[in-house]
């Protein structure tokens, strides 16, 4: 892969994570446990989709094939999406939603912090804007982990189930292929191995406050970054792309 193609794929990985998680959260709009939380989740969904949008605009420019951000979102099929498996997992209940957010938000906070130092000025600028939102997202989901862990027996049990079932997607967050390592060497991509200890210590701190134990003995899944997804993504994309694909080539 030449370096433009590597950079293009790298931007897609970041953007697809933001888009797919934002989409999942946007499915919850009007279904929140109370009005203030509904507003908070819609707001976070909007932040994520907005960040994805800036990244797709940049990716389209790097690809140089006269495509738009919409082409990248609405006309790629399942195998071309590069998001991690974690973000496409369904909204099983509020504990799953917050657990998924918390794991991703923690990763994303340290990731954006590091990406601000990228030698790629556009990526660094987008990260500098995103980090403000990531900081709030991290506080929001972290507070919920503490509330749910500490709250009632039911909330504790539900949260435990969510952590047990979503933990298998944690390791993939840090996976890097040869092309990405090349970009790391050039100072463009974030070395995810370097943010892993920050991730672990934040997760441990919040989970301890919440009275939760970190799941052990979980077999780790991966594949999203290579376009091998869980079965959930196909349905998500079918819904997301349905109108756009039904009327090819028109303006919206």
């Amino acid at each position: 892969m030449n370096s433009q193609a590597s950079l293009f794929q790298y931007i897609l990985k970041i953007a697809d994570n933001q888009l797919i998680l934002g989409h999942r959260l946007s499915e919850q709009c009007s279904k929140g446990p109370f009005l203030e939380e509904d507003i908070a989740c819609s707001n976070i969904a909007l932040d994520l989709i907005g960040a994805a949008n800036s990244l797709y605009i940049y990716a389209a420019a790097i690809e140089g094939e006269n495509k738009t951000e919409d082409d990248l979102v609405f006309l790629r099929s399942e195998r071309a999406f590069r998001n991690v498996l974690l973000v496409e997992q369904p909204n099983t209940d509020f504990a799953y939603i917050m657990c998924r957010q918390f794991l991703f938000d923690t990763y994303d906070y340290f990731f954006q912090l590091a990406l601000q130092k990228s030698k790629d000025e556009t990526l660094a600028a987008i990260a500098a804007k995103t980090i403000k939102e990531s900081t709030y997202h991290l506080r929001h989901s972290g507070n919920w982990i503490i509330r749910l862990g500490d709250g009632t027996a039911e909330s504790n049990t539900r949260l435990k189930a969510a952590f047990t079932n979503l933990w298998c997607y944690v390791e993939e967050l840090f996976e890097q292929d040869a092309a990405e390592l090349d970009l790391v060497a050039q100072g463009i991509a974030v070395d995810t191995q370097l943010i892993k200890s920050q991730f672990n210590s934040h997760i441990a701190e919040i989970m301890q406050t919440a009275g939760m134990e970190i799941p052990t003995g979980i077999f780790m899944q991966s594949g999203g970054k290579k376009g091998v997804h869980t079965e959930y993504l196909g349905f998500l994309l079918a819904e997301m792309q349905s109108v756009h694909r039904s009327f090819p080539g028109v303006k919206w």
Binding site: H23, S26, E27, C29, S30, K31, G32, P33, F34, L35, E36, E37, D38, I39, S42, N43, A45, L46, I49, G50, A52, N53, Y56, E69, D70, V73, F74, D93, F94, I146, R147, L148, D150, G151, T152, E154, S155, R158, E239, M240, S242, V243, H244, F247, V250, K251, W252
Partner: protein
Amino acid sequence: MNSLKLDENQLIENFEAKLAKNEMIEPKDWMPAQYRKHLIRQISQHAHSEIIGMQPEGNWITRAPSMRRKMVLLAKVQDEAGHGLYLYSAAESMGISREEMLDQLHTGAAKYSSIFNYPTLTWADMGAIGWLVDGAAIMNQVMLQRTSYGPYARAMVRICKEESFHQRQGYEIMNVLATGSVEQKEMAQDALNRWWWPSLMMFGPRDEESPNSEQAIKWKIKRETNDQLRQRFVNQTVSQVEKIGLVVPDKAIKWNEAKNEYDFGEINWDEFWTVVKGNGPCNKVRIANKIKSHEEGAWVREAANAHAEKNNKTKAA
């Protein structure tokens, strides 16, 4: 002078004198029980409309056909939730709790705008709702910025700013569709056909059949009647329809030179009352969805309360 010693007649006199001077009534002011009751009903109904209104539009967030449209729609639905929040707070200032209001919504004791009992079937419905439904709502809300109850009037000032933006983006969606491909134009016309009449119904029954209107105008809660607002909406909207090459689905629509306004056809009042009474296409599903998310959220609210209580105890100890 101690207001506690005033008798009821004097209190009413003072209240009416305030209204006559166009002064706002504030939460701590004395007000007739009927005024309070009327406003609680109206403000909570308005809040519920914002909240139930999130469903028909929320239905299209995941399918919006471009990134820009997706972000704008999500932001719009989030705005509606925010409006619901200010309005619940305004109603709370009159001495009703959020829980009571939600109970009334869930049991059907409180109404919300019937417009949200129609289904959103195509993407063009997002254009039609923004343009027509928000447009009709603005007619009411602009008037309500001068309503006599302070917290309600102030909530309206904020809401109106956002609603005008919603209306512009709705019209822009319709404009793009109406000037797009043949299929897109058909989609736009179809949406206009389905939403036109329900939008006119949003202003409520004809003046002679609107039992609450007269008192509401006397108390300066409302400043104009249903029929006056409806007429203004038609006058404003017909030229917007024509400008983008669509057709108003009313054969009787005609400019009346003498009256300097449009004549328009008779609203199907049977349909209006059918939907008001709970038998519109989506009445049951909207409330069922609302109850479902409320019930599914019960354990989350309980957990948050339990955690807050434990925290308070730790702090107190």
